[in-house]
């Protein structure tokens, strides 16, 4: 049994990072030139890390499955990025951002990591501005801010509803500059299929060239995984179609432990599911809750008429509208955190007040904001989101309230890392959404962008130096070592196995079935009986998949079905671990809601005596039960309290 050492530095919270930086080793410029680092994934975390490491002088190899690094799914983040700048003079501070993040995460994140995140957040804004990110500006030329859920200050920086796009393009531009200089070798349309460990240290990866199908070996002195989250285990989610958990899962199978897999975020404002043919769900930014009011009818008969299309939302008079978030949570109102808003929407719909034909939608209404501010202000703030909504639903949100419903969005859980962002495998790092470290059981809006860039620009480039300082005498990794040969062989034989099943059903058939199991039993509301059932159903489905999936095409050609089959094979395993983790944690916290653990008025009830720890799972071999380790969460600066947004 491996011992978990989070390596949190000693000393007062506000001094930990500074002290740590003073104590860790630094690699000389001459030695950096001799060292190679692999970065997998080119979203905010991966692109910023690859660029920053290359600027420092390391030789970087960067990988993405997309046709260009610019297409990583960070591009789709809409609303904004948090930073403790206190530009609004509203009493924001590093401490307040830290406190909001810990509380928002329902006290299931590490104090030291979160404090550091808040501490470097102002630098991110400065860096992005210098790169030419066109953040929104006030008329005097200063940076503008908006509010996001779960906080009482305005600290969110934004570029219309395309903040993720603009931040990613900033990182991509920095990456391009290093590619042009020859400091980064970019491998687009390449998918990592295994990590190679030699003498206990990460030394490279096996990747498939998605165009030629060739299986290739890449060596390095360290490997950084920045491959995002595993939300697509639910089939329908706000993730990109290609987003997957496979890189993290290969690391898990090679000894990198996996933390809090059951913590996934369900975003309250997504366009509702439409029929059985749907392939993905579209998010409507949380920023919309700044100006939109959420409601359902007060009267059930109105809800029924809406569902049958007999009346429209504008036919319902003011006094018959139930602004349930404002009613239940007067102090935060429409800006409660995501998990709270999602559950409240589900509660109203389950009680029979849903407004679309399936009874699974609530209204997000801009009438009031348009009356108050005028249409042109709303257009400037959210124009692209309104256009997107109109194209998908064929309805004009300037005139009719949006219909929204919760959907799977973000994975708080992920590969376990220590304070240096290193996994339990030496030389293997995990950053951004791929790791577990900063968001506890629920992530606050506009904090994913902050974390990805904090890790990539300002944390990993320092901490990886401490490890690489010990590798300066290590020669270039020999990709003909037996460990590489064996890993490559395993990757090939797995692909051949999938390809040779030649069953009758396409990959999507199984993925949709898995998605239904996950949504029904491991989704917004969970209980012991359902979770046990889910585990049994996943196992059964996985068995059928491995007997009956049909992968067409050729091995040595572009073959999207083969890619999907490999990713789904891992999703079965991830889904099972999520259910197992959810079963083990018999408390409600953040996005994890156990029906067995609620307050008298139906709010989530944590159990701090029993569950104030990180659940860390260790792989024991195929078909074997994983071991559970517990990293206790020690709160020295914050007093745990039942979260309330009332």
């Amino acid at each position: 049994m491996q011992k978990l050492d989070s390596k949190i530095p000693a000393g007062p919270l506000a001094e930990k990072w500074a002290r740590h930086k003073a104590n860790i080793r630094v690699v000389s410029p001459a030695n950096k030139r001799k060292l190679e680092v692999i970065v997998v994934g080119t979203g905010l975390g991966g692109a910023s890390a690859a660029a920053s490491l290359a600027e420092l002088g390391y030789n970087v190899k960067a990988f993405c499955y997309q046709d260009s690094p610019r297409r990583a799914h960070s591009i789709a983040a809409q609303g904004g990025i948090n930073a403790a700048k206190n530009y609004q003079n509203d009493n924001d501070s590093v401490y307040r951002l830290f406190y909001d993040t810990i509380k928002g995460g329902d006290y299931r994140a590490r104090e030291a990591n979160v404090y550091r995140l808040a501490e470097v957040s102002p630098n991110i804004i400065d860096q992005c501005v210098a790169q030419g990110v066109p953040f929104a500006r006030e008329y005097g030329g200063l940076l503008d801010n908006r509010s996001f859920g779960g906080v009482l200050v305005s600290r969110t920086f934004y570029a219309r509803g395309q903040t993720g796009q603009q931040l990613l393009l900033g990182a991509y531009q920095a990456l391009n500059r290093q590619i042009a200089k020859g400091n980064v070798k970019m491998y687009s349309r390449h998918e990592m299929l295994d990590v190679v460990i030699i003498d206990g240290k990460a030394r490279g990866i096996i990747a498939r060239d998605l165009v030629t199908g060739e299986i290739q070996r890449f060596g390095a002195h360290a490997v950084v995984v920045a491959t995002g989250g595993y939300g697509n285990v639910f089939f329908l989610s706000t993730n990109a179609m290609g987003s997957n958990g496979s890189a993290a899962w290969q690391c898990y199978k090679k000894g990198a432990m996996f933390a809090n897999p059951c913590f996934v975020q369900i975003h309250p404002t997504c366009i509702p599911v439409h029929g059985e043919q749907q392939s993905k769900l579209t998010l409507m930014s949380e920023s919309l809750r700044n100006d939109g009011r959420v409601w359902v009818p007060k009267k059930k008969e109105d809800a029924l008429k809406l569902r049958e299309g007999k009346i429209g939302p504008n036919d319902i008079p003011e006094e018959d509208r139930d602004f349930y978030l404002e009613r239940r949570y007067p102090s935060y109102g429409n800006l409660v955190p995501r998990d709270v808003a999602s559950r409240a929407a589900k509660e109203r719909c389950d009680a029979g007040f849903g407004v679309n034909s399936e009874g699974k939608a609530v209204y997000l209404d801009f009438k009031y904001a348009i009356e108050r501010l005028g249409r042109s202000v709303i257009e400037e703030r959210y124009g692209n989101l309104f256009q997107m909504y109109e194209k998908i639903t064929d309805q004009d949100p300037y005139k009719v309230p949006m219909q929204i419903y919760p959907a799977i969005h973000y994975s708080m859980g992920g590969t376990w890392v220590d304070y240096n962002l290193m996994t339990t495998v030496p030389g293997l790092y995990s950053i951004g959404e791929a790791n577990f470290s900063d968001h506890g059981a629920n992530r606050l809006g506009a904090s994913a962008l902050m974390q990805g860039l904090a890790d990539g620009y300002f944390i990993l480039p320092y901490t990886i130096g401490d490890y690489l300082a010990g590798e300066i005498m290590t020669p270039k990794t020999n990709v003909n070592a037996p460990e590489f040969v064996e890993a490559e062989q395993k990757v090939k034989s797995r692909l051949e196995t999938l390809f040779n099943i030649k069953g009758t059903k396409p990959v999507d058939y199984y993925h949709k079935k898995l998605g239904h199991i996950m949504w029904d039993y491991v989704g917004m509301s969970r209980n012991a009986e359902g979770l046990k059932k889910a585990i049994a159903m996943i196992r059964e489905l996985r068995e059928e998949f491995w007997k009956n999936v049909k992968v067409p095409g050729e091995m040595n050609n572009l073959n999207p079905e083969l890619e999907k089959a490999g990713r789904l094979a891992d999703f079965f395993d991830i889904g099972e671990l999520m259910a197992r983790d959810a079963l083990e944690r018999n408390e409600s916290c953040g996005g994890h809601f156990r029906e067995e653990s609620v307050t008298d008025d139906g709010e989530a009830l944590r159990n701090d005596d029993k569950y104030t720890y990180v659940s860390v799972w260790e792989f024991q071999g195929e078909g074997k039960e994983p071991d559970l380790h517990k990293e206790p969460l020690i709160f020295e600066n914050i007093k745990l309290s039942q979260r309330s947004y009332k």
Partner: protein
């Protein structure tokens, strides 16, 4: 607004097994598609039917399916991203098509975007153009406070208008010359409108245009097809700005 069912559609699609193979059109039929289904979901359904019948599914590029990653392409009924305005293919819905219609789907056609398979093309030329100068030369760290650089609301908004480019390549596909001028000018404008980007504006314009020419994109003859088909409505006024930057760069040589 209620969704209807399209009982039968004919899908005429470009099939080409790899870059070297000779391509041709094949026609498939598909039945019972809801008008609320997206165009790419329709292709998913068709592909799953093809797989079950033992036919190689149609390869096409797609990822975020919310109109922002720029991965999806497709030349549909003679128009990049199909018969709607200001959308990407993934945002196109079947309500734009009629019962019994034949829908023709081709890849982007441009010398600089060679076909990889079926409808998938290689757009790495766009990355190469940006690598030639589409950035501000700053390293991580050592930058001033974000509010130390004042930028007028209008300049920030205009810069953002240009920065909204998703790099999909529709402008090249729409252009009879396969010119990448709208793409290049969007990046040049995005950065030139900001004080941070002004420092290198001339060299940026010169280097990106040179790279564009080298990679086999054609010249701009001002037909405005690019603007008409751009899913993000990037304005051709950016091309005028690029021309100004470029000329002033040449004069200052």
């Amino acid at each position: 607004m209620a969704d209807k069912i399209l009982k039968k559609l004919y899908i005429e699609v470009w099939r080409q097994n790899n870059a070297k193979a000779k391509g041709k059109f094949e026609t498939y039929t598909i039945e019972n598609i809801s008008t609320g289904t997206s165009f790419l979901e329709m292709l998913d359904i068709l592909n799953n039917e093809l797989i079950e019948k033992g036919v190689d599914p149609i390869a096409f590029d797609h990822d975020c399916r919310e109109g922002i990653c720029g991965t999806c392409s497709l030349y549909i009924n003679g128009r990049p991203h199909g018969p709607d305005t200001a959308v990407t293919t993934c945002q196109l819905h079947m309500r734009k098509f009629k019962e019994g219609e034949t829908i023709t789907i081709e890849p982007w056609r441009a010398k600089a975007f060679p076909v990889i398979k079926d409808l998938v093309v290689d757009r790495s030329a766009f990355d190469k153009i940006l690598q030639a100068g589409g950035f501000v030369s700053v390293n991580t760290g050592g930058v001033p406070d974000g509010n130390a650089i004042l930028i007028s609301h209008e300049d920030a908004e205009e810069s953002m208008d240009a920065a909204a480019c998703i790099g999909c390549g529709a402008c090249v596909a729409a252009c009879k010359n396969s010119s990448a001028m709208l793409f290049v000018s969007a990046k040049v404008s995005h950065l030139a409108k900001l004080p941070q980007g002004k420092v290198e504006a001339k060299a940026r314009a010169r280097n990106m245009v040179a790279k564009m020419d080298e990679l086999g994109f054609g010249g701009c003859t001002n037909t405005q097809a690019c603007e008409a088909e751009c899913p993000k409505s990037i304005s051709i006024s950016n091309i005028a700005r690029l021309n100004r930057e470029y000329l002033s760069a040449r004069f200052s040589e």
